[in-house]
Amino acid sequence: MRKGLHPVTIAMLLFGFAFLYAPIVILIIFSFNEGKLVSVWSGFSPKWYGELLRDPQILSAAWMSLKIAAMNASVATVLGLFGAYALGRFGAFKGRTLFTGMMTAPLVMPDVITGLATLLLFVGLAWQRGMSTITIAHITFSMCFVAVIVRARLSSLDQSLEEAAMDLGARPAKTFLLITIPMLAPALVAAWLLAFTLSLDDLVIASFVAGPGSTTLPMVVFSKVRLGVSPEINALGTLIVLLVTLCIVVAALIFQRQEAQRLADAQMADRAD
């Protein structure tokens, strides 16, 4: 039945990927442009990277963003794991419907609504706005994305592994630590990274809940971009793309090697019977 792909399907794939990647490729090319224009080539130069790395505004905002992202990812992974575990393993409990709703709504809620609402809460609580408020706002939606990833993995886990651990005398908390968490490890790593990038990427919510002195990287980028195109931003984009690509490719290679090893082992083992 698998006769290969229909030419129309292949054409659609090519078109789709060209659409997804053309802007990124162009962004990268023009980050090395000598001139200030990002659409007319005027010679190769890495000077915009130098400009970028000397821009104190961008550097301090990037540092702020990284701190927020790391904190957000760590807390969101724990909360998202707990939430996913409750939804995946506890069966019916009081308030489940409300909980499910609160765990899924942030996935699609428009940022402007979430941002405004969260800000009003902080104003109501007379909470000093700054890094902490941005982090809290980010955790709130990040944990829901974490939960989606963890739940997908959790539902594919054989529940009898946890039952076997308990049957062998491990208390629930110990079972969770010794069996559930190691089994979920790849999903937890992926979830942490996703939460990290979601936070690093957010402009709208951060703009609402930020206070003086808590300018994040997207806020700086946004203000620069509104004033007009700047090759400095191209350089920044290129660095982000390279970093992410590197991470993903390395992760994929490790995963692929493990998978290949596992397959080879399994084939060897089956010959033993």
Binding site: T9, L13, I139, A173
Partner: protein, 310 residues
């Protein structure tokens, strides 16, 4: 051991299990109640408050001055205001139109892609999937920004078309509805492809073989088997695109023209430029009321996918 003792043991076990569950459930539950649900109650409250020149810039809706039972001093003025000024109604309708058209465009581009990836040979499949996910991990803001350089009057696309002799005047492609559509479809395409792929990839190949075996031509098999079975993926993907697109701010702000009215942008302006928090809240509540139905549909299908997975 007596029956009473057994009951005691059972109760103890239940109490223990309950407390262990509570430790897991309570932190995310309380977090979401406090930082997700409570804010919406406040937005609701504020949307029926009066604006004031103060900090925070609104009057309380409940006046606690005369004792236990507060006076309701709220107003629905903010909501009626939304209907008296053309701006808001037009912005709402325009947002829905833009989100709807973008969703359909995403579906038309995303479905064949998801289908192609799901049917691709094993080694290719993971690589292609990664190519879909990768842009999603890189800065959304910068990727939207990249389109400015492509679409503007002396941008890459116009230069290319002029260079090829297809046009001799640059086409106005930036700062209008067209660029907003491009930006939204571009940004949200992975959100359409991923649920569709997840759905199509787990589809049982033997169903298609059975249809073929029973004499259905490939396109008939697609229409009669594949398409109906992928409805949950289509709904999930469409909602993941449609709902956030309605409230999109960055794309219309960067790529749209001054007259590209979208409700997310209106809300932002009410809040940051006019500093009218009550009207901004009313805009948010009105948007939320409209989005409740799609959100519930999304949750329903999300729940279904979870059930199917477990």
């Amino acid at each position: 051991m007596s029956a009473g003792g057994a009951g005691g043991l059972g109760a103890r076990l239940r109490a223990r299990l309950f407390s262990q569950r509570t430790v897991v459930l309570l932190p995310p539950y309380i977090w979401l109640l406090l930082f997700f649900l409570a804010p919406f109650v406040i937005v609701l409250k504020l949307s029926i408050s009066e604006a004031a020149i103060a900090m925070p810039p609104y009057l309380p809706i409940l006046d606690w001055a005369d004792g236990l039972i507060p006076d309701f001093t709220g107003t629905f003025y903010n909501f009626s205001f939304l209907f008296t000024d053309d701006l808001y109604v037009v912005a709402y309708l325009n947002s829905i139109k833009i989100a709807l058209v973008s969703t359909i465009a995403c579906l038309l581009i995303g479905y064949p892609m998801a289908y192609g990836i799901a049917k691709a040979p094993g080694t290719w499949r993971n690589a292609l999937l990664m190519l879909v996910i990768l842009p999603f991990w890189t800065s959304f803001l910068i990727r939207v920004y990249a389109w400015i350089g492509i679409l503007k009057n002396n941008g890459i696309l116009n230069n290319l078309l002029i260079g090829l002799g297809i046009i001799d005047q640059p086409l106005p492609m930036l700062h209008n509805d067209f660029s907003v559509y491009v930006g939204i479809v571009y940004s949200y395409l992975p959100f359409m492809i991923l649920p569709l792929y997840a759905n199509l990839a787990k589809m049982d190949e033997s169903l298609l073989e059975a249809a073929a075996d029973l004499g259905a031509k490939p396109w008939k098999t697609f229409l009669a088997v594949t398409l109906p079975l992928s409805v949950p993926g289509i709904v999930a993907g469409s909602m993941l695109v449609f709902i956030p697109a309605v409230g999109e701010f960055v794309i219309p702000e960067l790529l749209g023209g001054p007259d590209t009215l979208m409700i997310g942008r209106v809300l932002w302006n009410e809040f940051f430029h006019n500093r009218d928090w009550p009207v901004a809240s009313a805009v948010a509540i009105a948007m939320l009321l409209f989005l409740v139905v799609p959100i519930v549909i999304f949750q329903h299908y999300q729940g279904k996918t979870d059930e199917a997975a477990s």
